[in-house]
Symmetry: none
Subunit: 417 residues, 2 copies
């Protein structure tokens, strides 16, 4: 079964809100084994909505609408679909009572136009709205299924999960399950990664392999279909293994994980504490780390050492180091990482010093970055990078590289044991 999602609302076309409904429904439909081939957004205009319905009818069996079920004049989704499928709108007594109750409960006066929300397509299967007033509905016409859902995500999402899902599962003839897994890579570019696995990509059919780059990371989405979900999952495992034989050293996580999240998890498992001395990144590393709840067992605090004064006076960087090598140097990164770990009494110290831009510093070009990593009982490592983004991108990239380097060093120290 193929589907199209049509979101109705001029506020989307004016850019006032983002179409998160299409994303939510797409994820849900993928889980049900239903392919989504198109999303459409159309405004509160009957003619344009009608034309969108006609186009969708030619390319999808299931059409899901969000929005346009409200009480006002510009809400016309069900009126337009009624014309399209040639069914009339009738008052649904249960929906009407539920709307009346809603007003009673919230001590508000019900206006006449609110009754309009209880009108439903004749012969449709009603989806109750547990978080608002407008009911959803599913109606069949010819070989097509039309599902109407309210626009506000707080009403639409629970309605779909509670009632919509089930209504679709019973109508979907395909027994195929779609399972998907995202592999997350860092330290390798999109093109380089593709080159390594080009034969697998060229030969792909089931599972499919889709690369995506962004924020300095590359992901591969593997998607497999099979009537037996276990077999589909083992198809993913097998493909993942093949990919890992080529580029496994760059794989750091799955699905919605992040480098910071992996780092926090690893530190907790090993009971290592960490601190940071941040010049270039101005607190970004620590901020991102503490955005994860429960890191207080591994992170006590750290220093933002933006000026040389703070590097010297708070973090005891030697004056000779700043004079001879400058703040953006291997030597300075080393002292910062080691001295921060000592000051904060932590097992690991990481330092970030560099030139974020827009101007060069100490004669060093924008994008020059040194990351120092001092792990208790091991020689301090300093990694140098040349980044090529904006100020913001360079800071973000540096933090990701920092996490990656620590994870790599910890992994190596474990392997050495």
């Amino acid at each position: 079964m193929n589907a199209e999602i049509i979101a109705v609302g001029s506020e989307l076309l004016l850019g006032q809100i983002v179409n998160t409904n299409a994303r939510f429904l797409s994820q849900q439909l993928a889980g049900l084994g239903i392919n989504v081939y198109f999303h459409t957004v159309v405004g509160d205009n009957a003619d344009r909505l009608m034309s969108a319905i006609e186009i969708a009818k030619n390319r999808a069996k299931l059409i899901i609408f969000t929005g346009g079920l409200g009480p006002t004049k510009d809400d016309l989704t069900k009126e337009t679909i009624a014309r399209h499928v040639g069914k009339e709108l009738v008052m649904d007594q249960t929906a009407l009572e539920s709307i009346e109750l809603y007003f009673k409960r919230t001590n508000r006066v019900m206006t006449e136009n609110n009754r309009k929300q209880a009108l439903v397509l004749k012969g449709s299967h009603i989806l109750p709205n547990d978080h608002g007033m407008a009911p959803g509905m599913v109606v069949e016409s010819g070989s097509h299924i039309y599902m109407l859902l309210p626009g506000p995500p707080k009403e639409m999402e629970p309605m779909f999960l509670q009632y919509g899902c089930q209504a679709l599962a019973s109508k979907n003839n395909s027994n195929e399950k779609i399972v998907s897994r995202v592999l997350r890579f860092f330290g390798i570019g999109e093109a380089a990664l593709e080159t390594e696995i080009i034969d697998l990509i060229d030969a792909q059919s089931n599972p499919t392999i889709a690369p995506l780059a962004g924020d300095g990371e590359v992901t591969l989405r593997l998607t497999a279909k099979h009537v037996d979900e276990h077999i589909a999952l083992s198809m993913l495992d097998e493909m993942e293994m093949k990919i890992n034989q080529r580029v496994g050293q760059f794989l750091y996580g799955y699905d919605n994980s992040s480098l910071l999240g992996e780092l926090a998890k690893t530190l907790k498992e090993r009971k290592h504490t960490i601190t940071a001395a941040e010049s270039l990144t101005g607190g970004l590393f620590q901020q991102e780390l503490t955005s994860i709840a429960g890191v207080s067992s591994v992170f006590k605090g750290g220093v933002v050492c933006y000026s040389n004064e703070v590097k010297q006076q708070v973090l005891q960087v030697k004056p000779e180091t700043l004079e001879k090598h400058g703040a953006v140097s291997e030597q300075c990164a080393k002292e910062l990482a080691e001295n921060a770990a000592r000051l904060m009494n932590s097992d690991i110290g990481i330092s970030f010093t560099g030139v974020a831009g827009p101007d060069e510093l100490e004669g060093k070009p924008v994008g020059t970055v040194f990351v120092g990593i001092a792990i208790k009982g091991r020689a301090t490592v300093v990694e140098k990078m040349i980044l090529a983004g904006t100020r913001e991108a360079n800071r973000n990239r540096a933090v990701k590289f920092g996490c990656y380097f620590i994870l790599k060093n910890l992994k190596e120290s474990q392997n050495a044991k």
Copy 2:
């Protein structure tokens, strides 16, 4: 001129990412006086993309594409448009050099498929990519305009603002100029602000007034249309004056300004240095401050004092304070702000301590926040708040309140002179 926005990428149809590009472009096009009637999302499939282009051609004069300009095989936007308009793809020497330079600068090896990104539609107007590799382009065919933009928002948004906007403005025939201004408020809720100016909102026609709330701030977007841009601008001035007579004390900035940006500007003007002691916010204040280029003249550094150990040992908070009042207390906030200012030799010290959540702390409920503000030569002020958001929202809100409090205190000290 009417437009359709087509986003290309299977990751959108699988619900892996949200189509924020359509929102950004819709906002921008509205500002240019271009009506957007449809958004379409289609996957990485040449046939379905071609059918989407043919449908769009029948209902829009301007078609803007995002995505599918990358180096890999499933990137096929420009190849498909080339077939549609009957133009060939040619190597763009400038784009190729810029890609080669990108690899040289970052010390990475350029693979063959990266050359594909420098292929452009013959006769197109090139939009340089200052934040990535794939150039954008504008091509005309018959009465239609096709604009191709990269998918990653970090590349697409600056490209559109810097080059795309201008290319479109010169092609839009309408004589009416649309000008718009965003007024930014902090410290007043959306409903309260609306109540103060409800008569202006009810009577609006030109300029229009659109309130929007988000991230603890409220904005009003004023939009005026007139053939004479100067008259349109003076219509905005007049409306702004009326609004400011009612709620001017909460106005802090315009358009894309931010509380942090206003703070940095004020500190530079007054030559005040600032530091921070961040417990609750884990470095967020300093990170946001240093995300603004050129703040090194007002910010030397600061401390992230997540644990009580760091509060005591690095920031000299008295043991009695922690024992008697706890870390989340007025007394602790006061000492943190004052001692950070002393340690970092700065004119102003700000501290953030509180309970971000998800769990309560020291018997204090989630959302309890103390912000300490120590300004040289003045008595330290501590503001207490109870915030009601998620962990992330509470941290963000606390930083905004912190900036707002400093600005308020500095303004008062100036008024007192």
